[in-house]
Assembly symmetry: C2
């Protein structure tokens, strides 16, 4: 199983001329050195510990070589890439352990607890908020093992009557979809990390995909979970919804590996769509387009895909140079997508078209929609080329209620522009909507300067503080990790944090699971 | 504020002739003595403690008289009514305390913690699973106060842009709807307890209403909560959905007063519907009707109301004598209801009608639908008259995935029939559907015999054991209380129970909140 190729020079997408030209309007593109070939620190685990782990999963699945450890170091945020480029591999795991089953996960957790080894569950490695960085100091731990779930990639069962499927956590997005497609079924979860990220990771981080308007967030697709914790196994989800006390599924969803290792996920599935149609709409302003999205969401009339770029993103369209930022731009571009049976697509499209026309939108035809669909997973590849060219580029996201959308947008944009200074481009889109609110997804580009990491970190902090000051959530779908941890208390309060700590003590009394992640 | 009138002789509905005739076909109706006028036990709290509570909420809002204490004793399950009728008021609270604000709730909790007094939050008093019975022995407690939230009945704010409203917990269903209707808005939560049950109770028990197909369960309507716990205040819900770790709203929803007192609930609201249309459909069998419901749910094509009675309920229609069990019955009756704008209702009705026709349903016109809508809140009144006539009648409910529906139905029905013996009538309906499953709501009637309570309890236990054996949830919307507590471990596991205990210790270290409820 290859590690994710985001950040891997072999898979970097060359900077398209169009983007190069547009970016060069704003700041000069410089040549940057390629990342150094550096070695990882010496493993902290002893031979006996390695032998113990080999006894559980087999010799072949306890991996110690530098290349594997390097690929399991941190995730794929821009700071992660910059640290890797600068040769800082201080967060490398001591060993990569690849269990094949729930029972092997249980055994590894038991051994790690006994030996006081930190366990960092690893799926696709696409974490962008520092969720793969263990803090050994916090718990008197002797080392860190990366628990690679890549051997647990089965489709364990399909219930066609209930429209559910049970999946193993190591399945990547395309693998899960291919297994389901063989039965005429689909999960319908397409985050930008789709190609690499895994079912377990989607659940552990409350991922949300590009078809969330039609198919919902990943956490809403989950009906049952099996979790291995150091305190024992947890099986949750005897029914779709119930009144059997607090919904404990919602405690393990979003737990980011700190409460247990998710070993099975049962999700709602759907028939494969017979028809897929994507199209564009043009709006006079970001606010006008957002108001239209709100009207659709509040009348429960949502297409499968619904996205809106702000004026800057519509103009530059850094995230997808091939498509929607084409000629004749003015105002803001919205993408609407419809998937399903021909009859359902026709009915929904007619109703949405009538509503958007009434609200003042201008149809922009199918070309922008198809272009978006074609390039939807490309942005992270492009980022590597931008970094190569001295452009600092990163994304961040948040979510709030509709009445706070404009305030949040202005605060975050201003914070980024003011902190990063001249030449900064802030782009934004809305790609996830609810009846009561929406996400805001920002892409930031700025000249990297001598030390891009030192330049970015204060900007990220300023953006986070702006989100907190606006009363919004610190993350819509990137999760907390270590990067957002300092801001979680403001969102859930001291008592909320105490509840998380109490749950942690109950399921992981020795504190071996992803120490330092999530919980302040 | 009157206590709920279910079980109050003054508000009992006389047994309609039609029901009397139908019931007498099955078992003879006997005359039963009216409940005795009994006195409540002497209060266990001392004068100093009463004075302390008066100092917080004022003299007028610390109520000690027998009538008030009697009305706050237990809830409204049939066992609750039977115990009350038999003169057993051993679970009466020592005092009823009526705070006017979040801050007064906080102060009462602080005082109760200091004095080791159990606190049982009280909303509408419509609990049917023993959720209002405190177990003082478990925590070395000196007495029990009923925390009546009836003075906290404000509409604290409306956000018309985000379509949310913030409500106080003591608002009864009709009061909340009336306050919202003044703004052209609606919550749309209509459980059978609608007339008495409160916003706080809906949240604390994960209530689900008769329009759940269109408007969702109550827990899905909630976007934010304010909770007073002995450990401090919790405010949750910075956004509709997010990835800021576990969703702690889902820990306080369904917490049944054991984790804190919900003092504010922010919910999604909707425009008042311009049109409401209800109609009937007839199906050859319960299975055929249920398959049709499943098809609608799995194609995301749900009307606002969707209910299906099994053959027995269609025939007898004990739950609503005035309507749907009319002449010419054969097979099973389904009710479909549509609410919204004229255009939306017409479009949805056309699509659902086409689907149900294709699936083999026979339209039964608007009469059964309107009859259902007219009598929808009447069943609990009728129950009192049945009890007066020596008929033991009770309801229970569960929820499972679609593929397990028939197994669950057969197991529970058989368990009830076998335990209660000859002359037992078991009726069932499906009134809440999901893409992946549905609820089953049973109404049971049997001759009461000499000791109806002694007759019922083994039947309830057998039904619960059947639910557990079928792998379903012990409750879809009645909550856990004390009645379902013995079965919760089977559903969420030992580790799940440990998580609940850990949360309890974090938010209520002295164990004063609803002791003995919910947590095994």
């Amino acid at each position: 199983m290859p590690a994710t190729r985001w950040g891997d020079p072999a898979y970097a997408t060359g900077l398209p001329d169009g983007v190069r030209d547009l970016v060069s309007l704003v700041f000069p593109i410089a040549d940057r050195p390629a990342r150094e070939d550096v070695t990882v620190p010496a493993p902290r685990l002893g031979d006996e510990q390695i032998a113990g782990l080999r006894g559980i999963v087999g010799d072949d699945h306890v991996v110690l070589d530098d290349a594997t450890r390097r690929r399991r170091t941190r995730g794929k945020s821009t700071p992660d890439l910059l640290r890797q480029r600068s040769g800082d591999l201080s967060d490398a795991p001591d060993v990569v352990v690849r269990p094949a089953s729930h029972d092997e996960v249980v055994a590894v957790l038991g051994y790690a607890q006994e030996q006081r080894i930190a366990v960092v569950p690893f799926g696709g490695g696409t974490a962008v908020t520092g969720g793969l960085v263990a803090d050994l100091a916090s718990g008197d731990l002797t080392g860190m093992l990366s628990l690679d779930l890549g051997r647990m990639r089965g489709l364990l069962g399909i219930d066609t009557v209930s429209s559910t499927a049970t999946l193993e956590p190591g399945l990547r997005g395309p693998e899960a979809e291919a297994l389901l497609a063989a039965h005429g079924l689909m999960l319908g979860h397409f985050p930008q990390s789709f190609e690499y990220a895994t079912i377990g990771g989607f659940a552990a981080t409350r991922s949300s995909g590009q078809s969330s308007a039609g198919y919902g967030r990943f956490d809403k697709m989950v009906v049952a979970l099996r979790v291995a914790t150091p305190a024992g196994e947890v099986r949750l989800g005897a029914s779709p919804s119930n009144a059997s006390g607090p919904d404990l599924r919602e405690i393990f969803l979003g737990s980011e590996g700190a409460f247990g290792v998710i070993t099975e996920v049962t999700v709602r599935v759907r028939p494969l769509p017979e028809v897929k149609e994507y199209e564009g709409w043009r709006w006079s302003s970001f606010a006008a387009g957002a108001d239209a999205m709100r009207a659709l969401a509040q009348s429960d009339l949502l297409p499968t895909v619904l996205r809106l770029s702000d004026e800057n993103e519509t103009m530059i369209n850094l995230a997808d140079p091939s498509g929607i930022g084409g000629e004749g731009n003015a105002g803001c571009l919205m993408i609407t997508g419809y998937e399903g049976t021909p009859a359902a697509v026709a009915a929904k499209k007619a109703a949405v078209t009538a509503a958007l026309t009434e609200l003042g939108g201008t149809p922009a035809g199918s070309e922008p929609g198809e272009a978006w669909a074609h390039g939807r997973f490309n942005a992270p590849y492009l980022r590597d080329s931008l970094l190569d060219n001295g452009v600092l580029v990163e994304t961040l996201e948040t979510v709030t209620f509709w009445s706070n959308r404009e305030n949040l947008y202005t605060r975050v944009k201003t914070a980024l522009e003011e902190t990063l200074g001249e030449g900064t481009l802030v782009l934004c889109h809305v790609s996830h909507v609810y009846a009561t609110g929406c996400s805001l997804y920002f892409t930031v580009a700025a000249p990297g300067g001598e030390d891009p990491l030192a330049k970015w970190l204060p900007a990220k902090a300023a953006a986070c503080e702006a989100i907190v000051a606006a009363g919004a959530s610190i993350t819509h779908h990137h999760a907390v990790g270590t990067d957002h941890k300092p801001y979680l208390t403001a969102e859930i309060g001291e008592v909320g944090v105490d509840v998380l700590r109490a749950v942690k003590r109950a399921v992981d009394p020795a504190g071996i699971l992803n120490p330092g992640v999530l919980i302040p």
